[in-house]
Subunit: 265 residues, 3 copies
Amino acid sequence: VSGLDGLGPALAKLRAAPPLVHNITNFVVMNNTANALLALGASPAMVHAPEEVEDFVAISGALVINPGTLSAPWVASMRLAAIKARTMDVPWILDPVGVGATPYRRAVNGELATLGPAVIRGNASEVLALAGAAGGGQGVDATDAVDDAVAGAKALAKERGTVVAISGATDVITDGRRVARLSDGHPMMAKVTGMGCTATAIIGAFLAAEPDPFWAATYGLAALGVAGATAAERARGPGSLQLEILDALHLLDPDTVAPTATLDG
Amino acid sequence: VSGLDGLGPALAKLRAAPPLVHNITNFVVMNNTANALLALGASPAMVHAPEEVEDFVAISGALVINPGTLSAPWVASMRLAAIKARTMDVPWILDPVGVGATPYRRAVNGELATLGPAVIRGNASEVLALAGAAGGGQGVDATDAVDDAVAGAKALAKERGTVVAISGATDVITDGRRVARLSDGHPMMAKVTGMGCTATAIIGAFLAAEPDPFWAATYGLAALGVAGATAAERARGPGSLQLEILDALHLLDPDTVAPTATLDG
Amino acid sequence: VSGLDGLGPALAKLRAAPPLVHNITNFVVMNNTANALLALGASPAMVHAPEEVEDFVAISGALVINPGTLSAPWVASMRLAAIKARTMDVPWILDPVGVGATPYRRAVNGELATLGPAVIRGNASEVLALAGAAGGGQGVDATDAVDDAVAGAKALAKERGTVVAISGATDVITDGRRVARLSDGHPMMAKVTGMGCTATAIIGAFLAAEPDPFWAATYGLAALGVAGATAAERARGPGSLQLEILDALHLLDPDTVAPTATLDG
């Protein structure tokens, strides 16, 4: 079951055979990312040494590359892993954190984007920066509205033969032709660090369970959006929200989960 | 409005235009530091690659340097960033974590302290060790009473032309002449890792909103002290305290926040 | 008081003189590990630079080596620290995270295991992989039942002159002759990342307070098991469980703590 009703079945499939999700990600979010993947039902690992990244890709169901706290040795490992993933048909996702902030970030993410990611997920500013459009954005926070970035996302998806997912008040997912929109989530999620990185990792888990990356990206953002909205009802602030989202991911019920989604194209 | 009544206005100013706070900090606290800055109302980023630290300093409102898990490549980036910050008049703060524990820590922090930090924040043992006084302290926990360190703090502040902030049961902030004392907070905060690092980062955020580093340091410690005292009323232990502090920072009200503060000099 | 009734006295001793526990551990768990050690009553530090690891070992009560996110520079520091610990009679513990997953992990952990750890703690798959037995295990999750690994653990303990601790639904601790079994804990603990790493660090703290590594390992796993079982009663999911475990470690009462334990041999 793909399509807008496919989240529940994909989640049930993922939990029935927890995929190993290989993350090469940033220092800020490693703990949260691992916990979110476990809470969802996947099996996370963080592995970055050049001596073993290729071996680890070979046994993984999906690969997550997030150069948020990048440095040259880590970038070298990301490159090795991405190339190995492409060779092995292991789907991988790129999170171009703060790509517009510095020339180094633009160069690294621009190169990684050519190595065959199944999905690229960012906020509107990051997607626009990677698409070469104006916008930029200071650091890692989105300063462009999601809707303004849809055209850039479609162009980037077509140029790179990938799916582009933009998170924001409305999430938008496109493969250059189809466009899904999701309106779950909660504004306070922007006050928890690495929520976008969590979204990326969760999409990574769905990439191992759903063969169409467009739907994998849609299910990943939908799962987090539904969990975030539920969690926000119990949270007093961003500290409790971070915890409640993990509980909510764990409590997501494949039989009843129903994101607020629409599809064009 | 500077002075003891200035915390509320400074917090309102900070939230009205969230400053980008550039952190080169330790692996233990990156997630908490980012979350505390977001909860307060600032915009955090963690960036350390030599290829981009200077570019990032140039777009930031303040810089936080915390060599808690230092190594030579990170120290090189800290040096680059501190020098760039001085050149660009971006205020920066040094957190000399565990400076008394090893000769390497003494050498690195001693050098960084000469590169023009607007504020140095540590516990009593760290401030005494950096001031060259006896004391030392095992690892990162304070073994000297805050009051014993005030003389050392004043001397260090004068020698380096900086503000020195000591956290403890009573927080003390001095520029070598003025001395502010704060008595909010809660003893259980010492059972949450990186609470001092959080204090440092929050002072960093205030450095971007308040031009006098003496008041920026006072407001930063006051904000965390008030949040910590409020949070402790709801916490059963250090796990819930860590979460409640993030919620309390988010819920700090600029119109009513009132730290327990006194001023000498 | 050693033996099955010794946990309370060992915990009281540890809290009366909090040992400095030196951790060279992985990026995923540094915050949780530090918080768990603080909540228990120990004094944690994370130090890995080759310029200072040996100096830090020399002032520590115990050393924890966890190459979960290993890379060549960190492995070099682990080697330096382990050798220094052996020289100084500082007890140390090895956590061979995901040792069966790649040849690099097998080589690194195999070498570290020869450098005199007082305790090796892993899940059943990791212990079997390190013992050279079949099993392997994908990534860091256990795929072998604990009981199946006891024979391998005994053999490994004898071969290396160490204590081997296996965590799982039943924890098993052996020095090759004695075998302790613990049945506290809760299944949801497997949904919190780094719970095994937390167990390793807590054993590290007990190594500084209890001279027999067999009992130190037993007390460490017992303390976490009791705290985990208590915490699970209050948790709705893995997010709240992570927090509740820290509170429960803090609230452990040396006078009443009573793990479910048996002893053979």
